[in-house]
Symmetry: C2
Subunit: 327 residues, 2 copies
């Protein structure tokens, strides 16, 4: 259940009609503030606000007419659900998104505005997800999971763009939630730039993938992080297999605190004038955590998403003010 490098190149062709490449930018002020040479891959510059839209479009664009008619079903109110909804919109594919009763109304509205049908079902996500799986089976629709091969291939397409623009990347730092993003980067780096180190970053408050990667066993862990995009209780087997692969897997895995991510959100805001959700700033936090090792290197940090709400932003600014207002 993993895409090959060639399949990732095909995926790039499939999405070219619907999504444009994103910029990879260096900010002199951010370099001055961190003492590093950082290139920010702006996956927050998609209209859907996060890299996951790539995988959604890869999947939707690859459907036959009959499959498209039966549509996509998934469960999520986060970037993933919104990305699948948006991918459905741009490819003309009907999408149903199951969410638990009591799901955040703002997020439900965003998914609806992107053209998807929202179905409330059950008290929690596990129930909504199981219902969505059942619905998909019943209707012959495609159930979309976060580490489906198309989602990994989608993430791989931004890695292709990185190595096309900067062939001499020393280190690439990528946040891990389900792991699809890190997998896409590992597969592409292995073929295109085997000397590049790939470092994954996760919140120390939600370290399921980290522990699973360390131990080789699928591990559940607590999930307390502010970084919704990194909030996964369980690791995914197919992702773990790639991330632990002795040839193409990760070189390092950094855990960062939620406060370090908050600081990184503020650094990104001040020096790049981009809004990052906590997961989108996790790579920058990880690069800062490994600063001594990365000094003098060309480092790419993945800004994986910008979907921070005004309230979320207010909370981070209030946290900063309470700390004495470094930013």
């Amino acid at each position: 259940m993993q895409p090959s490098y060639a399949e990732i190149e095909q995926a790039r062709e499939a999405i070219a009609r619907h999504l444009r490449p994103t910029p990879l930018l260096n900010y002199p002020s951010l370099d001055a503030a961190t003492g590093l040479e950082l290139w920010v891959k702006h996956e927050n510059h998609h209209a859907a606000g996060a890299f996951k839209v790539r995988g959604g479009v890869v999947l939707a664009a690859g459907l036959s007419d009959a499959e498209r008619k039966r549509g996509l079903v998934t469960a999520s109110t986060g970037n993933f659900g919104f990305a699948v909804a948006y991918a459905g919109k741009v490819t003309g594919t009907p999408v149903r998104v199951a969410v638990p009763e009591g799901a955040n109304p703002t997020k439900v509205a965003a998914i609806r505005n992107a053209g998807a049908e929202v179905v409330f079902h059950g008290p929690d996500f596990d129930t909504a997800r199981e219902w969505a799986r059942g619905q998909a089976e019943e209707r012959g629709a495609r159930f979309v999971g976060p580490t489906d091969p198309e989602m990994i291939a989608g993430a791989g397409t931004y890695a292709l763009e990185i190595f096309d623009e900067q062939p001499n990347v020393d280190t690439l730092v990528v946040p891990v939630g389900s792991g699809s993003g890190a997998c896409g980067n590992c597969i592409v780096a292995h073929t295109r730039s085997p000397q590049t180190h790939v470092i994954a970053v996760q919140s120390e408050a939600a370290p399921a993938a980290y522990r699973s990667w360390k131990s080789g066993q699928l591990t559940e862990a607590n999930m307390e992080t502010v970084a919704e995009g990194l909030a996964t209780r369980v690791a995914y087997a197919n992702a773990l297999e790639i991330l632990r692969d002795p040839k193409m897997g990760l070189h390092d895995f950094a855990l960062v605190s939620d406060d370090a991510m908050r600081r990184a959100v503020l650094l990104m805001l001040e020096h790049t004038h981009n809004l990052a959700e906590a997961a989108g700033a996790a790579s920058l936090a990880g690069a800062c955590a490994r600063a001594d090792a990365l000094r003098g290197q060309k480092v790419v940090v993945i800004q994986s998403g910008g979907n921070l709400s005004p309230d979320g932003l207010r909370r981070i600014l209030a946290w900063d003010a309470a700390q004495g207002g470094a930013a």
Copy 2:
């Protein structure tokens, strides 16, 4: 002193090596919030954070080796100074930026980080500017002014991108400070899409260009706006000539309040997850002010810049909280 359409096409070729095209994105949630069909032209997605970098690169890329060696001189701590500094960096052109004593240290640091030399001179901008002009003459360096033909051509290059992507734009809304942006849009729209209406927007608290456009006389006006990018005390003769041209000039000119721009910054933040400085949100404020007329149209709003400081953002969020927190 105005570039032709053909010169704008040449300018696009000249900058292609240094700057990438910016996205033109539609956000379903923003449309739902405004009742309009809005396409946001993301000039905030440059590393320099604003469209003016295009003009800086057009100018720097067009220099002979001898001219490049003598370099560029300008005066500004705003987007303009930073854009010229950044353009110098990417094209290998030395840049000196004159600023008044007591200029904002954060902005001075940003210009220095972009590789330019900052020279403090005099108590205010007029003094710094005159000194810069004198320096340029003395050294045979090029003095760069905000409505130099290359700056207008630079703005025109983003208009080319708009009409390449969306040939059926009904209305294009563009903020006016010095007017270079509006001029570039007018020249390109006149050739590429004469049926497109171009609407300029300015702050009612700094209406020099508006009054000059209305009266046909270069007019000074007060300059109290929070929108630094729109804060010009005087109109520029060459820009005014284009904006009032009976064939290619503006179709309409909207004045918006500073509060309307603050609201637009918050709309942009909530529904596009992009940081806009007040000038960068002025187009959206203008589109909202003309909503009845624009209903049912395809409307492009220029997000001209994202260089809002964390403190500026805090002030707008505090203003919103004091209003009862609509966002």
